[in-house]
């Protein structure tokens, strides 16, 4: 217990306060002296005034101490004396789990990050150190698993994305509390782009083999493949989206033509087609 007598050189009364208290719990203060006094409790979220009898204990209900921080207990009769005490956050009751990004390409170093903030039931930041268990799990693999202590209420991690496309679950837990988030792991850049062509009556039908990244994950539908045909008169380019792992294009060309394709950083094989033969 800590006794403080402030603001008055001839203190008739002293206010004795606890050194600290927990948010939401009752606190008992004591006073010295005699007679009636005005008692003020001033702190975050509260500035109450009541009549008290000096020399008796003063009970401060927990609902006046919901917020963590510094509180002043001031007793005024002829003069005013005060004591100060700190209220700390209660036990963790919720955790905010911020995860980035929501979609991530496979096999990217340090591409996934998570931050946890711990709060008590009054939404005070729990600054006392707690251990958070982080887990990041892909479809067939555990990408990250570690216990990390909070500093001033926060803990964070960063890890690489996995090899396989699909949903990734991220979990953070402390005691009985846990939070779960999900992100989508998608194929990385295309790898080994190969094309094939088929002459038709109206020109050339050209299509890719299934487009995949280097780990074998199919590239997302909608990704653009650019087909380029070169004939003696010049060049023609056609952008076609991947649909069902394959991109297709039709070229109207009667001249001998060289066809190639590109998608992201991947270049395809070249096809030489002479329709006049």
């Amino acid at each position: 217990m800590l006794a403080l007598a402030l603001a008055c050189p001839t203190a008739a009364q002293e206010v004795t306060v606890p050194r600290s208290a927990v948010a939401g719990t009752d606190v008992t203060l004591s006073t010295t002296g005699s007679g009636k006094a005005d008692f003020y409790l001033v702190g975050p979220g509260v500035a109450s005034k009541s009549k008290v009898s000096l020399g008796e204990e003063i009970r401060v209900p927990g609902d006046q101490l919901r917020y963590a921080g510094k509180y002043l207990a001031i007793a005024c009769s002829a003069t005013c004396n005060s004591g100060e005490f700190f209220v700390t956050a209660a036990q963790p009751a919720s955790l905010a789990f911020l995860v980035h990004p929501s979609r991530v390409p496979a096999r990217q170093p340090d591409a996934v990050s998570g931050v946890v903030l711990l709060f008590d039931k009054f939404d005070n930041l729990v600054v006392a150190s707690e251990t958070i268990n982080f887990q990041v799990k892909g479809a067939n693999e555990t990408l990250f698993s570690r216990a990390i202590s909070t500093h001033d209420g926060e803990a964070w991690f960063r890890t690489s994305s996995g090899k396989t496309a699909g949903a990734v679950r991220l979990m953070a837990a402390v005691g009985d509390l846990s939070a779960q988030r999900a992100l989508q792991q998608v194929a990385s850049e295309p790898c080994h782009l190969r094309i094939k062509a088929q002459p038709t009556a109206k020109g050339i039908e050209v299509e890719t083999e299934p487009v995949r990244d280097c780990a074998g994950n199919p590239i997302s539908d909608g990704t653009i493949v650019t087909f380029t045909g070169t004939d003696p008169e010049g060049k023609i380019s056609i952008d076609a989206p991947i649909k069902g792992d394959v991109a297709r294009a039709h070229m109207k060309d009667a001249e001998p033509v060289v066809i190639s394709a590109a998608c992201g950083v991947a270049m395809s094989n070249e096809l030489r087609i002479d329709l006049k033969r």
């Binding site: 001033v42 510094k70 911020l98 930041l125 600054v127």
Partner: protein, 198 residues
Amino acid sequence: MRRTEKIRMPGGHQEPEVRRRRSQKRRAFQTSRYSLWIASLMFLFSLAAPADGPDISVQVDITKAGPRKIEAQTEGRILADYRMAWTDLAQALNANEAGGFAGLFVGNAKQWLEQTVTSQRRSGVSTRYSNQSHKLQAVFYAPEGDLIELHDLAEYDAQVLAGGKVIHQDHGVHRYVVLMTPGADRWVIRELTEVREF
């Protein structure tokens, strides 16, 4: 060129007229030059003085922030918004007006500030902060830049008044743990908690 043309102009009274005009021009030029100097000085003073409130000084140290590096523009914004937030806080708790937070407090911080103002008004209490000095230390800047945690070593004079009479006053060092997040056009305070020690 122009000067020669004026001297050659016909009419006996033209030369004194030209001189008068020149003298007027010179005076006008000097006046405008002094005005420019005064305006420049005023501008420099306005830069040197704290933008929001005369007695709030805020410094920020970002050398220990991580894992993300804080850009200079972000640092400046945080500094300005934090100073503005304390200006608003001091005004609100002095005048017991909760409307002046200008959107700089959200969540838990806004909630306890509003409750303090309401509670102060009900019990006839007000709080005055003056001679504020805040030394901010950025201790965590989230990997995606969506959260910053700061330690504020604040020093100020505080007075608690009841019915216009000072019932408590102190001058001391205060330690705050601060959580700020980016809003639409500013950094807002989500948590502002005074602690005994960092």
